[in-house]
């Protein structure tokens, strides 16, 4: 490539870097809960339909039909919030795109294909109720599950690369000797980020559905429909929640090895310490615990923030608060999950305690908070780098003006979209179940 272009993407003056970052963060926060439904929901819907095929019980069919409409509505919103993210990559971070687009862009090209397949089969699945033979219909759900998982796999591969970059060399401010396959798929960060996210998707989708139907349960609606919905949703979440503790431990150990400064900011560890303690608010300190958690060795040495200049440290307060939020909520959810699984398997019924259902209703919103806190932990923890250790976020930002205007506009638009989503879901829920139960009339045509 030519030098002229190389120099053209040098650092620019951008007064509103923080606003640009906030705008990007806002867009991710809007998108990620929808991703959870894109990843996890199709599997739950297809499972419900499969139960209908297996048992002949029409409740499962009603449930699958109703859920498939919700799935389509959430997918439609996810399509646009996802498209906005791809616009923003160029609009806000042209320096990043110009320098590294050829390194990680392959991930998004592949994601585009999976997204395409998902859009196609979700339409066939939702509009195909009663118009396709039952077995064919069930099978058209499989590509929705697979492509939902594949799509986020490719996006997470890009994120894993940003956190643990490889597959290129820097020469005169440009990436050379680019190996896109190695950069994206030969990355030791990929596996734990993906598994962590997938498991989170089942936790969030499951507990959010659990909140909605748990509310029904508390109000006294304990029909077979509500029980089936709760059984499927909460079983998925309850199995995922304890598994996430193990996956989280694996992720933390990888961070300790590859991004020691991020790990130090989880615990605000100032100095490099052998046998580092773990402290939780309000001021409880467990000796050697951080070393034990991060390296599974109480005597391990944990790198402190002091090992790098202040300019190379992330905003520790935010990272630490979000880390503790994620871990705290995750632990509570795992405890709730254990109660559910015990009653479900040993007593072969749903829990009946009001306290359980109050907690289950809270678990949905809390799981979203944990999800977002987890995103903040890893992405704010990556700062001040956009490509860890290689490119600073301030060197990636656009030189264009008007970021605050865009930020406010987008915030208003997203507020409207959020209100719209809540409105749709309430409307869909208010429709009589008979609509999905027996007749094919209009079917998915209004979805």
């Amino acid at each position: 490539m030519i030098d002229l272009a190389a120099s053209a993407f040098g650092p620019v003056q951008q007064e509103y870097l923080l606003e640009a970052r906030q705008m990007q963060a806002m867009s991710f926060i809007a998108h990620i809960p929808l991703v959870c439904f894109g990843v996890a929901f199709p599997a739950l819907v297809v499972f419900a339909e499969w139960r209908h095929h297996r048992t002949g019980n029409p409740v499962y069919r009603t449930l699958a039909r109703r859920w498939s409409k919700v799935m389509l509505a959430l997918f439609a919103v996810g399509v646009v919030t996802g498209t906005i993210l791809s616009f923003e990559l160029g609009l806000l971070w042209p320096g990043f795109m110009a320098t590294f687009g050829d390194v990680f862009g392959l991930g998004f090209t592949l994601e585009g294909f999976s997204f395409f397949i998902e859009a196609i089969f979700i339409a066939i699945y939702v509009y195909g109720w009663d118009r396709l033979p039952p077995r064919t219909h069930l099978l058209t759900g499989i590509p929705v599950i697979v492509s939902g998982i594949a799509g986020s796999f490719f996006v997470i591969a890009v994120n894993a690369w940003m956190n643990n970059p490889s597959g290129f060399r820097i020469e005169n401010g440009e990436a050379v000797d680019v190996d896109p396959w190695g950069a994206l798929f030969g990355n030791s960060y990929l596996a734990h980020e993906i598994v962590h996210m997938y498991v989170a998707a089942y936790i969030v989708a499951g507990f959010l559905l659990g909140s909605v139907y748990g509310w029904q349960w508390l109000k006294g609606n304990r029909t077979a429909y509500v029980r089936a919905a709760l059984t499927i949703a909460l079983t998925a979440a309850a199995i995922a929640a304890p598994v996430q503790l193990i996956v989280g431990d694996w992720a933390a150990r990888s961070v300790a090895r590859e991004q020691p400064i991020k790990l130090a900011s989880f615990e605000d560890l100032r100095e490099t310490t052998k046998g580092a303690p773990f402290s939780v608010p309000p001021g409880i300190e467990i000796p050697d615990m951080l070393s034990l958690l991060a390296f599974h060795d109480p005597n391990a040495t944990v790198t402190g923030l002091d090992s790098v200049p202040p300019d190379d440290r992330p905003p520790v307060g935010i990272v630490r608060a979000s880390f503790l939020t994620m871990v705290g909520i995750g632990t509570l959810l795992a405890a709730l999950a254990a109660v559910f699984l015990y009653v479900r398997v040993r007593r072969r019924r749903l829990p009946e305690s009001r306290w359980f259902w109050r907690a289950a209703i809270a678990a949905g919103p809390l799981s979203v908070v944990a999800l977002i806190a987890g995103w903040v932990t890893t992405e704010v923890g990556r700062q001040p780098w956009v490509v860890y250790g290689v490119m600073r976020t301030e060197d990636a930002v656009t030189g264009a003006g008007g970021i605050p205007v865009g930020y406010v506009t987008l915030a208003l638009v997203y507020a409207g979209v959020l209100a719209a989503v809540i409105w749709i879901l309430r409307r869909l829920a208010a429709r009589p179940l008979a609509e999905d139960a027996a007749t094919a009339a209009e079917g998915g045509g209004d979805g």
Partner: protein, 419 residues
């Protein structure tokens, strides 16, 4: 090698203009569909477009990702200079998607009217803004670099306004032709006639804009003008004009399906003409495609990914369009007959159909074993632990979620509907 991706990008752009354009145009016609008869037109529009809109829309994602992977500096220059129209297009896309989703919940005419207006306005705004972007690129107003171009005149100029307006008119035209053909298939001749009139009107406007085009380009975008009036560009231009006129004649004589193909050809030809006219430049006047292209390793990787993706995509897309165009998704009226009696009888006879209580503890033990290995080991043994844990978790779900409650009665035979 450097030019292959740009060809694919132009193909994607043509597909987006035709398929996404039909979608935008359908929204445009909602603006004109008021009153009771308007409601019938809106319903028809919505029914025709709803199953395909997400798929139509993905072409844009394809164009964007190909552009930033294969021509990263050109992409970054375009995005940072043409920030305003791109942002407007992005907001339009959000509102459109929200409009589609909202439709699922609307039930009163007033709600539907408001949603329809929002949807229609964003359907006009988005292609117009994207047309402004194309105009800025074609008239050489995007210099290389981070926000190096003028943030206003790069998109507020003759070429941009021409292409923006043309994009809206073309979308309206293609949509009307598509919807007329669809109405014909469903046997709604009156609706087909309404869209025929709209198609003719939009076709005349689009044609007039296309004829005015060269006059604007000759002064505002001389390089593209020269390219379109000489060499291979002129062939594309003439092909587009011929296909466009043919399409109009086919609509006039009510041969909508053939008109669809001709209209798509006209669009594809003009997109190809733009590419040929700018060749070998990606960003006029300085950056050639060759200079802008990523290294061979990246381009080869993208092409491999593209080929594999296409192998899966093409049959999938073919399946969707076959179902839609053959009318399989048209409103059905027959009630659901209920599950086959044999399946219910078999399920009632099979104790495992209602879940096996023994399966859950076994799956749980497998999961715990995998979790233990994951926790207490490092790579490569850890990978095995993770695999065992995840397989165990899936097995747990299947075992626990499938377990019927203790007091669930066997299904009546034949089953009752609903609950």
């Amino acid at each position: 090698m450097a030019e292959v991706p740009i060809v694919l990008i132009l193909v994607g752009l043509a597909a987006y203009t035709v398929l996404g354009g039909a979608d935008f145009g359908a929204g445009f016609w909602e603006l004109t569909a008021r009153g009771e008869r308007g409601a019938a037109l809106r319903d028809h529009t919505h029914r025709s477009m709803a199953p395909v809109w997400e798929a139509n829309h993905v072409w844009l994602v394809f164009v964007l990702t190909m552009a930033w992977t294969c021509y990263p500096q050109a992409f970054a220059s375009i995005a940072s200079t043409l920030t305003i129209p791109l942002f407007v297009a992005a907001v339009g896309i959000i509102l459109r998607g929200a409009g589609y989703a909202l439709r699922a919940g609307s039930s009163t005419p007033r709600e539907e009217g408001a949603i329809s207006l929002l949807f229609a306005l964003s359907s006009v705004l988005t292609p117009f803004a994207l047309g402004l972007v194309v105009g800025g690129i074609a008239s050489g107003r995007v210099p290389i670099g981070n926000a190096e171009g003028d943030e206003i005149t790069s998109w507020l100029n003759g070429t941009s306004l021409l292409i923006g307006t043309l994009a809206v008119a073309t979308a309206a035209y293609i949509a009307a032709v598509y919807l007329a053909a669809d109405a014909r298939r469903m046997g709604a001749e009156e609706i087909a006639g309404a869209f025929r009139a709209r198609a003719l009107a939009a076709g005349v406007v689009a044609g007039a804009l296309a004829i005015a085009g060269p006059f604007v380009l000759s002064s505002d975008a001389p390089e593209v003008y020269d390219g379109l009036t000489g060499g291979a560009g002129v062939v594309a231009l003439l092909a587009s004009a011929a296909a466009g006129s043919t399409a109009l004649a086919l609509v006039a004589t009510r041969r909508y399906s053939a008109a669809r193909v001709a209209a798509a050809t006209a669009v594809a030809a003009i997109v190809a003409g733009w590419g040929l006219a700018q060749e070998p430049y990606l960003l006029l006047p300085d950056l050639t495609i060759e200079q802008a292209a990523a290294g061979d390793a990246t381009i080869v990787a993208v092409l491999i990914g593209f080929a594999v993706g296409l192998l899966i995509l093409a049959p999938s897309l073919g399946y969707l369009f076959r179902l839609v165009l053959s009318g399989r998704f048209d409103p059905a009226t027959a009630p659901w007959p209920g599950p086959p009696a044999a399946a219910v009888a078999a399920a009632n006879a099979d104790p495992d159909a209602h879940g096996s209580p023994r399966a859950a503890p076994i799956a749980g033990a497998v999961t715990a074993l995998g979790a233990g290995v994951t926790f207490f080991s490092d790579a490569p043994l850890r990978s095995l632990g993770i695999a065992v844990m995840l397989i165990g978790a899936i097995a747990c779900f299947l075992a626990v979620a499938a377990l019927d409650e203790a007091d669930t009665p066997a299904l009546p035979f034949p089953p009752r509907d609903g609950d």
